[in-house]
């Protein structure tokens, strides 16, 4: 939280300073009014001058005008600052989230990031806005009020002041208790968001299985815990207000008693006690405002910490210096000049990186309470020794313009190879080179530029087809329709545009699976990438379309190195190299014909799909 104040709020300090000053003047005006009133009662009335009474009355009204003008101006400035601060904070947070590594995404989890980005920043915004409105006014009223009471009568003021340490103590204790409760509450709220999100995604299954009741119960449970946590926090905070009122009012009683002695001794006047009671109301109200601010701040500190957790996350994928040496080393080993993708002895496990961070997470097993917290996301993986590597000792070389096919059973590590190839994760050992350079020596932008990719569960956004293909990259109309054409999508895209606006629904719900895949492929083709990666991305296409697609790509993208992960032998049988994976091990590497001779698993797959005639 401290860091957020330093980084996001402190630049606005000059602005806030001006606002504070204006507010200060306005508030002083507010404070003048009872002072004048006391003067009227103590000095003007006994003198019996009506003219003076009117004059001072006018002065009070004048002060009121000044107060309202200044306060409005200051509030306006405060709103501006709040809106600017959060705009920047949201921008930075979103930017950070966009650049988080996959690993970090897995740890924070998406629902938690979403609620950090939405409700936590909202809490902070409320806090910044109100703390300026009340948080400036209230202390000024408090300090100003106390100051004026001192000028009125120091002895009475001291009595009142004696209450303050108690108040401070109370405030600190209560907010100390409050912050952890709020933090917990937000973690549970994450869980609620997750349930809603999941249920929306799975609405068809839920309805199909008539699990509405079950989901309702599930939501009821999380709803109840959110509400209970909120209640807990509320109860703690509720102590503050009445205790403050009691303390202050008892202070007032003390003041009157003291006043009685002072007046009796001739050290003070009745008018002063009178003014004192007025200031006292101001002080009391100021204190109550401060209480509200504290409960708000406690909540925002929890939010601020959650936001900061994301913001401070370190860049995980460091770029290696000294790329040239690596290049040299590659060549010495006698690799061919035009090697585009080189894997040498690559080993990797998803759980390895996590386990080192997870540490003590025994409590997170089972139902996964609080699994929205990043520490907890890695929960329950302490048996890491038993987890086999996802990939072990994988080596291959693909030359520019060649095609690599990857085939293997479910969970054999096909997609993992692609993840490593694009450096979405770093290999545990071994080396990956793209175009002769260690993959870790590339600037992220440079590396990404080389690839066009369709992931297995790729995302269609709520946008037009053109928007989904271009993803905001500047592309001419010709380039777009070319990409769609080679992706075998132009047929249905043109059909659509004639009949309806071509906006796509959320998650592409108004496209069939095959249509989605073709839009995604067009997206990958658009930038004419050096390396095109298709992760099982033609599975929903019928054979004919699939064949035409591959043919089109080979004809029009002759220089593009192609990496295809597929279930169908027909999708990869023409590849220059085929990698057969089993449990993370390479059990066959070569062209279709070679594998048909040497690799029994490959044979088996091929026979099962194409019958004997396919050989």
């Amino acid at each position: 939280m401290k860091e957020i104040v330093k980084k996001y709020i402190s630049p606005h300090f000059p602005q806030m300073g001006i606002g504070l000053f204006i507010k200060f003047v306005g508030t002083i005006m507010d404070l003048f009014i009872p002072y004048i009133l006391a003067y009227i009662i103590d000095t003007v009335i006994p003198a019996g001058q009506k003219r003076m009474i009117f004059l001072w009355g006018l002065a009070m009204i004048f002060c009121s005008f000044l107060a309202v003008s200044f306060n409005v101006i200051a509030n306006r400035k405060a709103s501006r600052v709040a809106s600017d601060v959060i705009k920047k904070l949201r921008h930075d947070l979103f930017e950070k989230i966009m650049y988080l590594s996959n690993h970090q995404m897995d740890e924070f989890t998406k629902p938690s990031l979403i609620s950090r980005m939405t409700s936590d920043t909202y809490d902070l915004q409320q806090m910044v806005a109100r703390i300026q409105r009340m948080g400036v006014r209230a202390p000024i009223l408090l300090v100003g009020g106390i100051f004026v009471t001192f000028t009125l009568d120091y002895a009475m003021a001291l009595v009142l002041l004696a209450v303050l340490p108690l108040l401070t103590f109370l405030t600190i204790v209560v907010s100390k208790k409050g912050i952890p409760i709020y933090a917990k509450q937000q973690a549970i709220a994450d869980r609620m968001v997750r349930v809603v999100r999941e249920d929306i995604a799975g609405i068809r299954v839920i309805k199909a299985l008539s699990k509405t009741e079950y989901e309702t119960e599930k939501f009821r449970e999380v709803n109840r815990s959110v509400v209970e946590q909120e209640k807990k926090a509320g109860m703690v905070m509720a102590v503050m207000n009445p205790s403050m009122t009691i303390l202050l009012n008892l202070g007032l009683v003390g003041v009157i008693l003291t006043g009685a002695y002072r007046v009796n001794a001739g050290a003070s006047e009745v008018g002063k006690i009178l003014a004192f009671t007025t200031y006292f109301t101001i002080i009391l109200n100021a204190m109550l405002s401060i209480t509200r601010i504290f409960s708000m701040v406690s909540k925002s500190i929890a939010s601020g910490n959650r936001v900061w957790e994301v913001l401070r996350a370190k860049e995980e994928m460091e770029v290696l210096e000294g790329a040239e040496d690596v290049l040299g080393a590659g060549k010495q080993k006698g690799e061919e000049e035009d090697a585009e993708i080189v894997f040498s002895h690559v080993t990797f496990s998803y759980y390895k990186g996590r386990a080192t961070k997870g540490g003590a997470s025994d409590a997170q097993e089972g139902k996964g309470t609080d699994c929205a917290l990043p520490e907890a996301a890695s929960g329950g993986q302490e048996d890491r020794e038993e987890i086999p590597e996802t990939l072990s000792d994988i080596s291959f070389v693909v030359k520019k313009g060649e095609t690599l096919g990857i085939i293997g059973e479910i969970g054999s590590g096909k997609s993992t190879i692609l993840n490593l190839m694009m450096r979405l994760y770093d290999a545990d050992s071994g080396m990956i080179r793209i175009a002769g350079r260690d993959i870790r020596s590339y600037e992220p932008e440079e590396l990404k530029h080389k690839f066009g990719v369709v992931f297995q569960n790729d995302m269609i956004f709520e946008d037009t087809i053109a928007g989904n293909v271009s993803l905001g990259r500047s592309a001419t109309k010709e380039a777009l329709s070319e990409a769609l054409l080679y992706a075998q999508a132009s047929e249905f895209v043109e059909g659509r545009q004639e009949q309806e606006a071509d906006a796509l629904n959320i998650r592409g719900a108004n496209l069939s699976g095959g249509q989605k895949q073709r839009v995604l492929i067009a997206r990958a083709l658009l930038a004419k990438p050096e390396i095109l990666i298709l992760d099982d991305s033609s599975s929903a296409l019928d054979y004919r379309t699939d064949a035409r697609l591959r043919q089109g790509i080979r004809e029009h993208f002759a220089d593009t190195t192609l990496v295809i992960v597929a279930q169908r032998v027909s999708s990869i049988r023409h590849a220059d190299h085929i990698l057969v994976l089993e449990n993370g091990h390479c059990i066959g590497y070569g062209a279709h014909e070679e594998l048909m001779e040497r690799c029994s698993v490959y044979q088996e797959i091929s026979h099962s799909q194409m019958g004997e005639g396919g050989v």
Binding site: G57, N102, T216, A265, T281, I410, R507
Partner: protein, 589 residues
């Protein structure tokens, strides 16, 4: 004219929102009643304070040596008693209000969520998840904050203002005339500003919802955006929405924050006037200093809460805007209710017949033109055709996620419109192209369709679906919690998990929509036996591209542009040499 009518409609809308909020509150009417009693008590006790102060000061008034200490102590003692009592009541009140507001929020959220589940599936295709989440969390939170704080405040205001007014009348009726001028002024100003700010608060909620919707979608697609290096572009788009939301916040907040100082101004005005006229009255001999003191204290009491209330008017407004969004989601049309005389399907044999079915998601764009076929009980019906020929749509119709615009679908000769949705859907087991797993253990995910399935049953299904060994390799086996849409589980593994889920169901009919599209063929062969068992004696609808999967189908429907162009067995269709033959041969090209 048009504008006034619109304004009128908006006003009615606000009133309806208030009434509905009121209905939620009324469910807690007993607690609410106690809360009101507490509010009265706490405020009335607090109101006695200034009067006692006045008396105490009156006892001091004598000046040097003439202070009547006995009376000072007497009144001071009572002051302490009343203040403590008032504070205790106010604590009780807060506890009550927190309880009430949490209950209301709980109920509202629950209602909203239950409503969500009754909406037709199409609703979620055109509404951003983030916006829905924004309603269920942020909007309800806003309503809730307002209920727990502002309501008490408002109540306090009413009571304090009323009480203070009475007290002031008792002290000096003439001086109260000052308020005859300032109170209407204050009311007028508040009303004027609120009228201006209400649309601003509406805009604030809506814009925030839009931003949240956008953020949700983009974070979901983060991996893709990153792979294409579109981070900066997306951040740019987010900035636009952020800018709009921040601006909407600023405008609402700024105009809302005017209310406070304005009301304060009026209060200062009344204080000034009270001072002047009080002084005059004193000179005229109809008021004592102690009276003026009490009166001024009461006038502060009078204006203090009004001031607070003015501050919370802006909060109330944002709460109202939020409540409108909540209720508008609650007012969405649910799936059409089952016919009143709908029967529940029992012991389904599994005969499914379509006769002249016509359907389009948009009425003017028909996808299925005229589809008729009959599936005999226990038979395997395969549906093939080019991508996008309307195969998945057919499933939407069978499950009655949508109703056809023409024609009829019958199950066991019952038109499905006259059957309860639940019994219809329960008679199908379904494995879809888009696999869905939720956060929960593997066991929970698998037994989802069959509550109380034993561990043994679940393991048997998992073994049959050839996913058991994968599960055992997970850190905690069947107790491993799958998180975040199954981050490191491949689509093929997800498909196997959903197949295992379907295997546990004992439904008379089965729908497999590309159920194994991401499963490698070797695994597919291994699970084939289990699949055959699964399909045994069930009417099965299978959509697949891999034609090897469907060679054994009893009936193959070749669908093209929403119509069945060929139907028959594999052999018959191969002999015919039409569309099917071409499709089949294509895989060997």
């Amino acid at each position: 004219m048009e504008q006034t009518r619109q304004a009128g409609a908006k006003k009615r809308y606000s009133r309806r929102t208030l009434i509905r909020l009121g209905q939620y509150l009324m469910k807690e009417k007993w607690l609410l009643f106690v809360a009101i009693v507490c509010t009265f008590g706490s405020n009335l006790f607090a109101l006695v304070g200034p009067r006692l102060t006045g008396f105490a000061i009156g006892a001091i008034e004598g000046g040097i040596g003439a202070v009547i200490f006995e009376r000072v102590f007497y009144y001071a003692g009572w002051m302490a008693v009343f203040y403590v009592a008032s504070a205790l009541m106010s604590y009780g009140l807060q506890v009550l209000m927190i309880t009430i507001s949490r209950r209301v929020v709980y109920r509202m959220r629950q209602d909203l969520f239950e409503k969500l589940l009754t909406l037709p599936v199409g609703y979620f295709d055109i509404h951003q998840t983030g916006d829905i989440i924004s309603r269920i969390s942020y909007d309800i939170d806003t309503v809730n904050a307002s209920l727990s704080n502002d309501l008490v405040q408002l109540l306090t205001t009413v009571i304090t203002v009323g009480g203070a007014l009475l007290m002031m009348l008792a002290i000096s009726p003439q001086l109260v005339l000052v308020f005859a001028f300032t109170v209407p002024l204050s009311m007028f100003m508040t009303k004027y500003i609120t009228g201006k700010t209400r649309p601003l608060f509406r805009a604030r909620s809506a814009k925030l919802g839009e931003l949240n919707g956008f953020v949700e979608e983009m974070i979901t697609g983060q991996k893709t955006l990153k792979a294409y290096g579109r981070e900066d572009y997306t951040i740019g788009r987010c900035d636009e929405k952020n800018e709009v939301a921040a601006e909407a916040f600023y405008r609402a907040e700024y105009y809302g924050s005017i209310v406070g100082p304005c009301v304060n101004f009026v209060n200062n005005l009344s204080l000034s006037l009270t001072g002047v006229f009080g002084a005059l009255l004193y000179l005229a001999g109809s008021m004592t200093i102690g009276d003026i003191s009490s009166f001024v204290l009461y006038s502060r009491k009078f204006s203090g809460p009004i001031n607070e209330a003015a501050n919370i008017v802006s909060e109330l407004q944002s709460a109202l805007a939020a409540a409108e969004r909540v209720f508008s989601l609650m007012d969405e049309l649910p799936e059409r209710a089952d016919e009143p005389d709908a029967v529940s399907l029992k012991e389904v044999a599994g005969e499914v017949a379509l006769s002249h079915v016509r359907f389009g998601y948009l009425p003017e764009k028909t996808i299925i033109h005229d589809l008729s076929f009959t599936a005999q009980p226990g038979k395997l019906i395969a549906i093939v055709g080019h991508t996008g020929a309307g195969k998945t749509t057919l499933i939407n119709l069978l499950m009655r996620f949508y109703d056809p615009q023409g024609g009829e679908i019958l199950v066991d000769r019952h038109p499905i419109r006259s059957v309860t949705r639940e019994s219809l859907r329960k008679s199908y087991a379904m494995v879809l192209q888009d696999t869905w797993l939720f956060t929960g253990t593997v066991y929970e995910n698998l037994s989802y369709g069959k509550e109380g399935a034993t561990r043994g049953e679940v393991e048997k299904a998992a073994k049959a679906a050839y996913i058991h060994s994968f599960i055992m390799r997970l850190p905690n086996g069947y107790d491993t919690v799958l998180t975040d849409e199954g981050a490191n589980i491949s689509k093929g593994q997800k498909q196997l998990l959903t197949i295992a889920r379907a295997m546990l169901l004992d439904a008379p009919m089965l729908i497999l929509d590309e159920a194994t599209s991401n499963v490698d063929t070797r695994t597919e062969i291994r699970i084939q036996k289990a699949m055959r068992n699964l399909m045994q004696d069930k009417t099965c609808f299978v959509i697949a591209h891999r034609l090897s999967t469907i060679r054994n189908a009893d009936l193959i429907l070749v669908v093209n542009e929403g119509e069945v162009v060929e139907q028959g067995t594999h052999r018959a269709l191969m002999d015919k040499g039409g569309v099917y033959r071409k499709l089949y041969d294509a895989q060997f090209e």
